[in-house]
Every structure is written in structure tokens, then in C-alpha cells.
Symmetry: C2
């Protein structure tokens, strides 16, 4: 159904808005004095791909605002780190190397220089960590602290990973534990009295996962270099949502079946779920922010590459066009690709 | 003097903040599997330059917020157009071709889809005008409407224009009229009673200059292709401020002397100055937003290239380290490189 023009953007949700933003841009054709065939690929993917000879220049943007993305407990340094991480994670999704990032900042006029410097420290620390440069910047005034990053990377055309490409029979895997950031956010949102019985060490660890996530750039590179990955994306909006993206990208010609007991849900997530009376499965499936990768891998090559890359097999690619979960009792359920999405009123 | 850490960012101002943001990033060195010598040049310039064989990839970012950059009278379409224009103008300053732009948007949740579409229309119209693509996007929620753009372009290393490079004896020129956007903003800020005597056609024309400025991409390209330009920048923060930038970029080894009577101040600016009791010279020198280019050109080639490019000679490069204005009475005054700057409390 077409949305009415007077509807609010919240009724469409972020992913629909981005599609709306980019859909019409494909019709623009133009000539460049620098390239015979300057095409832009991959509007559905985590980053745009621009023809550069044997390689693609990879470009992606992410914007974070204080009210929507920075919990009260997040330090200025962590904010700086996070604007780099969320952008680099999109490069990891494409299996690309990072070149550098350009940061535009809007800041309240009463921000202290000390806090400005702390944001910068976080940005530069993250740049160092991901072996990339800060290549430009812009500062502006705004009541709301806003950090916008655009990350550039490169990837060989032979090795680029996209959301499309999975084939029936491929192994479905994730590159690390699921639900830790979710557990951290639940702890941050909980009242002190609810947390009395929680081991402080566990508390600190999961909060760090929520406030200082890391992009899996190295894992993405290893996957693209392996030649065995058929599709890939980063888990920012939750595992189910990203599974939905892989299925959508194939025009629903594939489906995914995964096994509840194979999900790498670490003990911390179970402990916090118990303390706060939450469902650990929900944390692993529908929260984002873990920034691990969801990847499909040629079945015959899986064993060979899994020694060099942290990979947890969770299921297999099917032809069902749907997401199926085999639960611990062996029953198969059809799941909707729900996940966290900004700008959308009702996620659940 | 070093600023105290507890000082507010407004006491430094935008240009100092950007320098602070970028200064430390130069110390990062890293290796890329794609380039032997991946250097980032030009932190003082309008855009960053990244080594790409015989060319530079040019990258620039600009962020606009509703409260700081969009007058009440600006339509959503004009906002979309402007985020492209301000970014493309930085490419024009480097003499580069535009490849494409990546837009990150933060929007209030009650923005209508119709207004969202209008922003997009403006973005896509501008992309078409500058022969470039919209190559990516991100949408987010924020109380303040914020548009962040990152523009990519290319320029041959032999032809790139920078702020540094002017030599004593070069002609100083601008590529078009000065003060029109300033006049437009003064009209927008004026009360209806003050404007009673103003020709409605003039009013409409200058307001359009304020709300729908155009980047001088073609002029920048002609200048870089000419081989005659020695330095170049776009006039976003006012002519004097940009002259100061050219002088700074040379380590104050050059100065600029310009002649008041040579400034291309169009009749509209004089008329509006009279109606609103403003100084037209001030509009031409210290307001930004005209987006014309300030360029220095080898004296012996100036006559040869000015047939193909709109160029108004306004003065010459000296060795004074200062900005001198020869006024209409023939008297020489030293002027400070003042101009409009966001985030700074006292511009004047």
C-alpha cells in the first residue's frame, strides 16, 4: 500500500525511508571524465560500491544523535569511538579494508573544549584500532549533539561481500557471541534495586559491550579473502532483522533455518536475563548493536576456513523464502524478521 | 594562548575546532593493501585529497541544521538542494569533478512523508544539476532537522587547486557577483514595513540567491583545466575571511591588495543597502553564502583565460602578509580577515 503523503515518517520506518531516499537516485546517469563506467552498486547493502578498476571504492554513512543513540552513561570518548565503529561495521559487512573517515559534528554551544577533545580522542583511538585515517571534518552548532560519519574503504571486485549471493545448502554462521550488547543495555535501563544480586564484574563487562562495541573489520576481511563466503552483513538491528535482509536481497529465493541450541548466547546473557526476568533468546535475536557478522558460507569450504576465523554455525540456507527456527524441543517455528529500527513506532 | 579545557567551544570558533579535530589525525600512519602511498593531503583546504594514482579522490563533508542554517522561509526542497550545494562548492574550490554524494539525515518524528519527499526532490535535482549521483544515505530521528552530506569528487594531481600556491604578482579575481545572498538574507530578516518601497522583483531575486545558492562547479573545473590558476577557494564565509585563508595557507608569505571599485557588487545589493540602511561593502566583504570562487591567476595568462570563464579582477597578490583595500578615494586600508563563522561568539 502506498503511504499517504501526510503520514509521518515514523509510520514508514528507517529502512523504508532509506529505500525511498535511494530508489530514485538510480535513474541518474552521468558521464565522468575519470571512469568509462562509473556505476554505483548495492543500494540495498550496508555501503555503496563505486567502480574503481579492479576494486570498488566503498562508501557508507551513519549519523548518531545524543537523544537517540547515546545512553546517559556513555562517555564523550565512547561517543567518538562509536561514530567510527558503526561506520566501520558497514565496511566489515562488505569485506572491505578501511581507508578513512570524515566526521561532521553538530554540538551545543556550551559543550566544553575538554568534552570536545574527549570525542576526538575516541574518534582517533578507533581510527588507530581499525588502521585508518581521519580524513576530514566539519563542526557546527546544534542544540542536539550529533555525530555524522562517512567511511571510505576498498575491496577487490572478486572478493566483495554483499547481502545477496547465498545459495541453498550454504552454512549460516555468526562471527561471535549474540546478546551481550542487549544485556548491557538492559542493565543500563534497569533500576539499581533490580541489580542488587548481579555480579559487578558481569555488570561492567556487558555495559562495556553496550557502550563500546567493536566493529569486526578483521573478520570481514578474512571472510572476503577466504573466497568461501557467499553473502554477509553486520548485525546492527538484530539477527532476525538481518536474516530478513539476506532473504530480501535474494528476492526471497532463499530462506534460512537456524537452530536455537546453536546460537552462541554467552553465560552473561543468561545470567542477566534471569536477574532482570528477560528472555535471553529475545536479546540474541531482536536486539542490535552486537556488530558481529551474519555470513553464509559454501558448505564444502566451511570446515576448511573455520580454523582461521571465529565462526559459529547456526543453521543453513534453504529455499523456503522464510526464517525458520528449530527450537530446543526440535519444533520448527516461522519467525518474522523483526528487529530494532529507529523512526518506526511499533517494532513489536 | 592555549585555551583552558573548561572553556566552551564557542570561544574557539568553528575553524579552530576543525583544526583541532584534524591536527592530531596527521600523525596516524597506516598501510593499505590497495595503495603503496596512501596519503591524505590538504587538511587546511576545503576538501581532503586522497592519493589515487594520477588523480586525487576528493572528499568533503558539510552538515546543516535547521536552527543554524535554514531560515524559516526556506522550503524543504531548498534545504535538500542546499546540502548538496554546500558540499559541491568545496569540490569547486579544489577544481574537482563531482562523483556523488552520501546523505545522512536526522529528522523529527512528526515530519510528514510529503516534506521528506520534498527534501529528496531538492537533493536529486541538485545531483542532476551537478552531474553526480546520490550514492548512499542514512536516516535517523532527532528533534532538530539535520542534513549531513559527504561529497566525493576526482581531480587530476596536475590540476588540483588549493588554498596555497598564490605568488606575488598574480591576479586576484572572483567568478561572479558579491553580496547577493547577503542582500537576500537582509531582506528575509527585515520587517515588512521596511520593505514597502522595494521592487518585488528585486526582492524575489535576492531571496532566491539566499535560499537557493548555486555551487560554481563548472567554473572551478574550467579554472583547474586552464592551468593558469595558482590558488582557489569558495567564498562561503565572506570574501575577507577567504582572503585570510589564502594568506594563512602560504604561511603569510603573500598578501592581497584589492580595489573597492573593482568589486562586482550588483545594483540589487546597492538598492537593498539603501532601502535597509546597510553598507553594501559590508555585504560584499563579510557575508558568506555567495558560493562564488576567489582565485589567483598567473598574471601573464589572465587575459587569455578570461574569455572562457566569468572572472572579475579585483586586485593582485602582494608580499605584504596582509589584506589591503584601496578605497574609492585611492586610500589604502588594512583589513582584518573577518567573516561569518558558526560557533564563535564575537565575529566582529
Amino acid at each position: 500500500m502506498m503511504p499517504s503523503k501526510e503520514q509521518k515518517i515514523t509510520e514508514l520506518g528507517e529502512k523504508e525511508l532509506i529505500k525511498r531516499l535511494l530508489k530514485r537516485s538510480q535513474n541518474i546517469s552521468f558521464e565522468s571524465p575519470f571512469f568509462d563506467n562509473l556505476t554505483f552498486k548495492s543500494l540495498k547493502d550496508d555501503a555503496a560500491l563505486i567502480n574503481f578498476g579492479e576494486n570498488y571504492l566503498v562508501a557508507t554513512t551513519d549519523l548518531l544523535t545524543r537523544s537517540a543513540h547515546f545512553p546517559r552513561e556513555m562517555s564523550y570518548q565512547q561517543m567518538g569511538k562509536k561514530i567510527v565503529t558503526v561506520n566501520v561495521s558497514d565496511l566489515a559487512a562488505m569485506g572491505a579494508s578501511a581507508l578513512g573517515i570524515i566526521i561532521a559534528m553538530a554540538m551545543p554551544s556550551d559543550l566544553t573544549i575538554s568534552n570536545f577533545d574527549a570525542i576526538m580522542d575516541g574518534i582517533l583511538q578507533a581510527c588507530k584500532q581499525y588502521n585508518m585515517a581521519l580524513i576530514g571534518g566539519d563542526t557546527n552548532e546544534s542544540d542536539e549533539l550529533t555525530l555524522s560519519g562517512t567511511c571510505l574503504g576498498m575491496v577487490s571486485k572478486n572478493e566483495v561481500l554483499m547481502k545477496s549471493g547465498a545459495r541453498e545448502g550454504d552454512v549460516v554462521a555468526v562471527t561471535g557471541p549474540l546478546g551481550l550488547a542487549a544485556a548491557g543495555f538492559e542493565v543500563l535501563f534497569a533500576g539499581a534495586s533490580e541489580l542488587e544480586d548481579l555480579d559487578p564484574e558481569i555488570k561492567t563487562r556487558v555495559i562495556k559491550n553496550a557502550l563500546e562495541p567493536e566493529a569486526q573489520l578483521e573478520k570481514g576481511l578474512k571472510l572476503s579473502n577466504s573466497g568461501a563466503a557467499t553473502s554477509n552483513t553486520d548485525i546492527t538491528d538484530g539477527l532476525l532483522s538481518e536474516m530478513g535482509e539476506l532473504i530480501d536481497s535474494s528476492g526471497s529465493s532463499i530462506g534460512i533455518t537456524f537452530h536455537e541450541e546453536l546460537l552462541p548466547i554467552p553465560p552473561e546473557v543468561h545470567i542477566i536475563s534471569q536477574v532482570l526476568d528477560k528472555n535471553p533468546l529475545n536479546m540474541a535475536l531482536t536486539y542490535g548493536e552486537d556488530f558481529e557478522l551474519l555470513v553464509t558460507i559454501q558448505e564444502e569450504k566451511f570446515n576448511q576456513i573455520k580454523d582461521g576465523i571465529e565462526l559459529h554455525k547456526i543453521g543453513e540456507v534453504t529455499s523456503s523464502g522464510q526464517i525458520h527456527m528449530v527450537d530446543k524441543e526440535g519444533k520448527t517455528k516461522i519467525l518474522a524478521p523483526r528487529g530494532y529500527e529507529h523512526l518506526k513506532k511499533s517494532n513489536f
